[in-house]
C-alpha cells in the first residue's frame, strides 16, 4: 500500500478541524496493520472509488464523539450520543473525506466518496481490507481519533 496516498487524509484532518474551532490535532502514532479494526465505540466508515478504491474509518470513543459533536454545534452541551450528535459526526466524516478527495485530486488521483456509515457500540470489529491498512492516531487536546485507511 502506497503511504503517499495516506497523507491527503492526514492533511485533511489537520487543516479542516482547526477551522471548525478544534484544538490543532497532532499525529501521535502511525503503523501498518493487517487484521480488523476494533471499534473504540463510534466508528465511521466512508468508501471511495474511481482512480483509487478503498475505505477510511474514523474511530473514536463515545466521549470524543460527544466532544466533537458539541464543538461542531457551537459548544452546545451533548449529554447523550443521540441522533443530532450522530449526524454531526457523520457530517464531520463527510467533510474530512471530501477534503481528502480534493487533496487526492491535486495529486492527480480523482476519487468519489460514498455517504458515511456510522457504527455505534464498543466491541465491533471492522475489516476494510483483505491485506494491510494504515492506522494513524491523532490527538486533539487529549481526545484521540484513530484514522484507518485501506487502498486497494
Amino acid at each position: 500500500m502506497d503511504v503517499k496516498l495516506v497523507n491527503p487524509f492526514i492533511d485533511a484532518f489537520t487543516t479542516v478541524l482547526p477551522q471548525m474551532g478544534f484544538p490543532t490535532p497532532e499525529r501521535t502514532g502511525m503503523g501498518v496493520q493487517d487484521k480488523h479494526i476494533n471499534s473504540r465505540g463510534v466508528a465511521v466508515l466512508v468508501g471511495f472509488t474511481k482512480e483509487i478504491r478503498g475505505n477510511v474509518v474514523y474511530n473514536m470513543d463515545e466521549e470524543t464523539a460527544k466532544f466533537i459533536a458539541s464543538t461542531m454545534m457551537m459548544g452546545m452541551p451533548v449529554a447523550d450520543f443521540d441522533e443530532m450528535a450522530q449526524s454531526a459526526i457523520s457530517e464531520m466524516s463527510n467533510m474530512l473525506t471530501a477534503t481528502a478527495a480534493t487533496n487526492l485530486a491535486s495529486l492527480g488521483r480523482e476519487v468519489d466518496i460514498s455517504t458515511p456509515s456510522l457504527t455505534v457500540g464498543a466491541g465491533a470489529g471492522i475489516r476494510i481490507s483483505g491485506g494491510q491498512f494504515l492506522t494513524v492516531t491523532m490527538d486533539m487536546g487529549g481526545h484521540i481519533v484513530e484514522i484507518d485507511i485501506a487502498v486497494e
Binding site: 468508501g47 472509488t49 443530532m84 460514498s114 456509515s117 455505534v120 465491533a124
Partner: protein, 284 residues
C-alpha cells in the same frame, strides 16, 4: 400527488394502446398521443407534457429527428425512446438529439414505470423514486442473488422507510454508492444465519467465522453490484458505482445513518432472515 403528464408518440395504434394501458392506474396520465412527427411536435407545443415516449419509426421522420425538433422547442424536454432496435449508434445519435433514456421493445410495465419515474423524479418526489425504482430494483437483485448464489428461495418484504438505527448481532457488509445519488448498501444477518449461509454456499459442514464473513462479503458485493447495474441500465446518464466493501461484526452494535433515506429489505429464508438496507443521501 400531482399527476405526471405523458405524451405517447408511436405510429402503431396497438403500441399506443399498450403504453396507455401500462400507465393506467399509475401516477402517470397520457395527455397526448401522436402517430407521426408533425403531430408530435404540434401537440408537444400545445400540451407541454412532462415526459415523452418516442417510437423510432414514424411515417414522416424518424424518432431521433422528431426528438431533435421537440428539443428545439424545449431544451428541458424529457424523452424516452422505445424502439425495436437499440444499438450504440442509435444511442449516440439519440443523446445528441436530447433523448434521455432508451428502451427496447417489448417493454415491461415495470421497466417503463421505473424509467419514467427516474426521469421525472422532481415531479414524483424523491422518496417515491427511491422506494419504487431503486429499492424495488435492489429487492429483485437481492432475491435473485440469494437464489443463484445460495440456492435459497426467499420471501421478500420491503419495510417502510426506516429512520432508526439497525441493530446488528452478527455481520454486516457495508458497500458505499457513489455517483448520483450517493448512498450505501448494508447486507447483514445474525451470526447463526451467517454460519448456515456460508456452510451452504461453500458446501462445507463446518466453516470458521472468518470464512463465513468472507462468504457473506462476497455475496453482498455481488448482489450490490447487480442491483446497481440494473439501475444503471435504466438511467444511463448518471452512472452509479460501488466502493469496496467494509465488514462490521459484533454483538449489540448499532448501524446508524441519520442523514440517509433508508429502506430495509428483509428476505425470509429457510436459514433465517437476511437483510439488505439501502440508503441514499437526503441532500445530493
Amino acid at each position: 400527488m400531482e399527476k405526471v403528464r405523458v405524451m405517447v408518440v408511436d405510429d402503431s395504434k396497438i403500441s399506443r394502446m399498450m403504453i396507455s394501458s401500462m400507465l393506467a392506474k399509475t401516477n402517470f396520465e397520457v395527455c397526448a398521443m401522436a402517430e407521426n412527427a408533425a403531430a408530435a411536435i404540434d401537440l408537444y407545443a400545445k400540451t407541454r407534457p412532462d415526459v415523452v415516449t418516442m417510437d423510432m419509426n414514424l411515417p414522416d421522420a424518424d424518432g431521433v429527428e422528431c426528438s431533435r425538433r421537440i428539443h428545439a422547442i424545449d431544451s428541458n424536454c424529457r424523452i424516452v425512446m422505445i424502439s425495436a432496435m437499440k444499438d450504440a449508434k442509435l444511442i449516440m445519435h439519440g443523446r445528441l438529439a436530447g433523448i434521455s433514456s432508451f428502451l427496447q421493445k417489448p417493454i415491461s410495465t415495470n421497466e417503463l414505470l421505473d424509467t419514467l419515474m427516474i426521469l421525472c423524479q422532481d415531479k414524483v418526489g424523491i422518496n417515491t423514486v427511491y422506494r419504487d425504482s431503486y429499492v424495488t430494483t435492489y429487492a429483485k437483485a437481492f432475491a435473485d442473488g440469494l437464489s443463484q448464489i445460495g440456492g435459497l428461495e426467499s420471501e421478500i418484504e420491503i419495510q417502510e422507510e426506516d429512520v432508526g438505527a439497525l441493530n446488528l448481532d452478527g455481520v454486516a457488509v457495508i458497500i458505499g454508492i457513489v455517483g448520483e445519488p450517493r448512498g450505501r448498501v448494508a447486507f447483514y444477518m445474525d451470526t447463526e444465519t451467517m454460519l448456515k449461509f456460508a456452510s451452504r454456499i461453500l458446501q462445507e459442514d463446518t466453516v470458521s467465522e472468518f470464512e463465513a464473513q468472507a462468504a457473506v462479503e462476497e455475496t453482498g458485493n455481488i448482489i450490490a453490484g447487480h442491483g446497481i447495474s440494473r439501475i444503471n441500465d435504466v438511467i444511463k446518464d448518471r452512472e452509479m458505482r460501488l466502493t469496496p466493501p467494509g465488514i462490521i461484526s459484533g454483538v449489540n452494535i448499532k448501524l446508524s445513518n441519520p442523514d440517509l433515506i433508508a429502506f430495509n429489505i428483509k428476505a425470509k429464508t429457510e436459514l433465517g432472515n437476511i437483510f439488505m438496507n439501502v440508503g441514499f443521501a437526503r441532500s445530493v
